[in-house]
């Protein structure tokens, strides 16, 4: 540890998309199958460059759709390769069928998602409709809020996915444009160091003529329930593993994040629950809010599936108000933000006393200025003593 701390690691300027591509290179990924889609594309452009220049020895499968991208990625992983793909928006929606198959086959694939709105009308800009549409597919889901965290989390994701006790596909999600195309300083690690942390652990039941297996058989009602229940258990088990992986990562590289972050929560009376770039922006807003007497903390979701219930309860048990910011819409649901519905369920389950406020914002990358975030902070503060039963569509022109 001492020796490590004396090494000065020089950050390089990378967008979050490029940070993901660098992680893929440093992980010595074997197979990348991908299809271009805005705002993900520069991930696979960068990976293509790495392969073209011989910096990464991988098969790049130029598929004709995202459905095929996910199909080939799953197949490569089940053949024993380390496989990666990246997508966004319509691409993630087109993959939908294969997302469930990846999880059901326990394929240890990793995918980055540069989150973007879903059609119609078509919008290339950011919100999180795509990700939340895939929420129940059985993938482990991380939200990251900086380019550095994206780099680090892709590395953590492989260690988690390929763990024989986990064997689940992992998504690493971040905001399209706002993060995907924003350049930040990122420290990258050497391939030997990365592979020391995340050594390749090929799929244990892989397609191999020496040990023939039948994968993807048709399962009658006598068995399907138990097989799906194994996914329930795997997902539950992934929580402690993810925490351990992050801790180990911190030990080796000096950076760790926890699976849920509470920022300025000490003495806070209200919390804002959000993720990705909104969490990053709020971190810059909250000090000013506290100077104004608004003691509001940020509860940043990092690991979203499995949901760190215990961590949430620890942070939220003393809160008087909790404001949940959703950037996708669950049309006609009790709360029209999908995340707010989950927090409402937790509030009941755990007997938490806070007032819950559901806010939808940033749909189609509607700009949120600092004063808009400050308005959310004030709303969170107000939530201590006031109930807002309906979802608030912040910033919409009615």
């Amino acid at each position: 540890m001492e020796a490590q701390q004396t090494v000065v690691k020089r950050p390089i300027p990378l967008s979050t998309n490029y940070a993901v591509a660098y992680a893929v290179k440093d992980l010595d990924v074997d197979v990348v199958a991908a299809y271009p889609i805005t705002p993900q594309t520069t991930v696979v452009e960068k990976i293509s460059e790495f392969v073209a220049n011989g910096e990464l020895d991988a098969e790049f499968i130029h598929v004709e759709s995202e459905h095929s991208a996910m199909s080939a990625t799953i197949a490569a992983a089940l053949t024993g390769a380390r496989a990666f793909t990246a997508t966004a928006s319509q691409g993630l929606a087109l993959m939908h069928e294969m997302l469930y198959i990846a999880a059901g086959l326990r394929a240890p694939v990793v995918m980055s998602v540069a989150m973007r709105a879903l059609s119609a009308p078509i919008s290339i800009w950011n919100d999180q409709s795509d990700l939340f549409g895939s929420r129940d597919s059985g993938w482990v889901i991380y939200f990251v809020h900086t380019a550095q965290e994206a780099y680090d989390t892709v590395i953590q994701a492989y260690r988690l996915a390929e763990d024989p006790d986990v064997l689940l596909p992992v998504m690493v999600a971040y905001d399209g444009y706002v993060m995907s195309h924003t350049t930040e300083p990122v420290v990258t690690e050497s391939r030997p160091e990365v592979l020391k942390f995340a050594p390749k652990r090929p799929y244990p039941y892989r397609l191999n003529p020496d040990k023939p297996v039948t994968i993807g058989a048709i399962v009658p009602p006598e068995y399907l329930y138990e097989i799906k229940y194994q996914n329930v258990k795997a997902m539950e088990g992934a929580l402690a593993k993810a925490e351990e992986v992050d801790r180990e990562f911190g030990k080796q590289f000096g950076r760790s994040y926890g699976i849920m972050e509470c920022y300025m929560c000490e003495g806070a009376e209200s919390l804002i629950v959000t993720n990705a770039s909104y969490a990053a922006t709020l971190k810059s807003i909250l000090p000013e809010a506290w100077r104004q007497g608004l003691r509001v903390g940020l509860l940043r979701l990092r690991l979203y599936r499995p949901f760190p219930v215990k961590h949430f309860v620890e942070h939220a048990s003393d809160a008087k108000g909790v404001l949940v910011v959703d950037r996708s819409i669950s049309y006609g649901a009790p709360y029209q933000g999908p995340l707010a519905n989950e927090i409402a369920g937790l509030k009941v389950r755990e007997g938490l006393g806070f007032n819950l406020t559901s806010v939808v914002a940033g749909i189609g990358q509607r700009t949120m200025e600092d004063e808009d975030f400050m308005a959310l902070v004030r709303l969170a503060w107000e939530s201590r003593t006031r109930r807002f039963p309906e979802t608030i569509f912040y910033g919409v022109r009615e």
Binding site: S68, D210, P212, I215, I218
Partner: protein
Amino acid sequence: MSAGQTPRGPLRIRSLFDLPREELFISGHGLCAGCTAGTIMRMLVKVAGRDTIIVNATGCVEVSTTRYPYSNWLVPWFHSAFENAGATASGVARAIEVLQRKGALPKDRKIRVIAVGGDGGTVDIGLQSLSGMLERRDPVMYVLYDNEAYMNTGIQRSGATPYHAWTTTTPAGKVWRGEWRTKKDIAMIVAAHKIPYVATANPAYPQDMVNKFARGLEVLDEGPSFIHVIMACTTGWRFDPALGITISRLATETGVFPLYEIDHGKFRVTFPIAKRKPVIEYLKLQGRFAHLTPAEIEEIQRLVDERVAEINRLAGKEVIGPVAK
């Protein structure tokens, strides 16, 4: 012989006695009595040998041969969805390439990837994925078993359903007379991708079929291959289960399903016919054509004649003769 050692390269046979006794597709499957798909699969893996990975699209063969917790496959077998056999086979084949290059798998070992799909999974929903695989020249042999409708879901028409055939979604009624469009020519669509080897095959001509599988495997170092196998379906075509091979043979003898190959662009009819049988010989054994009037049969005969003329044009001479009087 220990598992994994391939005793031979792709096998060429002069008679069925040359086929290995070893069964890699074993009995106990749930295919219909008289289904010819089982015959095709059994021959296919006999030719391919143990160092084979099968990728199967959703369909009859998939559901009937892998009923959990059982399997009829003694080679690695993988199914994930309906429309993605091409992309899935690409993923497997390219993973093997990189793992061999990086030393994670033995470099000298030839492991062959074979995709298997029905007509729905190939000519309709899987066409895009297949085209991607072909265009990328990924080393995969794709075997289409074509029973000319969605038999697995209960005989709905597909893009491969022939003219005037009854199916449950093209019933013969007062207005409709069965399918009213002609069959999609998938082999030629595939051939347009300029891959090393494309062939049509028929389990009634097992020697021809087996040697085409062998040739398809042989060219994989250069690129993909595609074998379009006609698969008479007792349930969907409505015939006596004993007649599968008889009807398959008639498909070729009448010129409905000519046997040819396109090897590196060179077109060759592998089963020339001096005198064709009239198409009614083929149609009359099948319940799916039972509603046809003499005029409609004439119309089908005319379409077959046109098809034969086209094949002869491609061959550059008359390899398939006229209908015997």
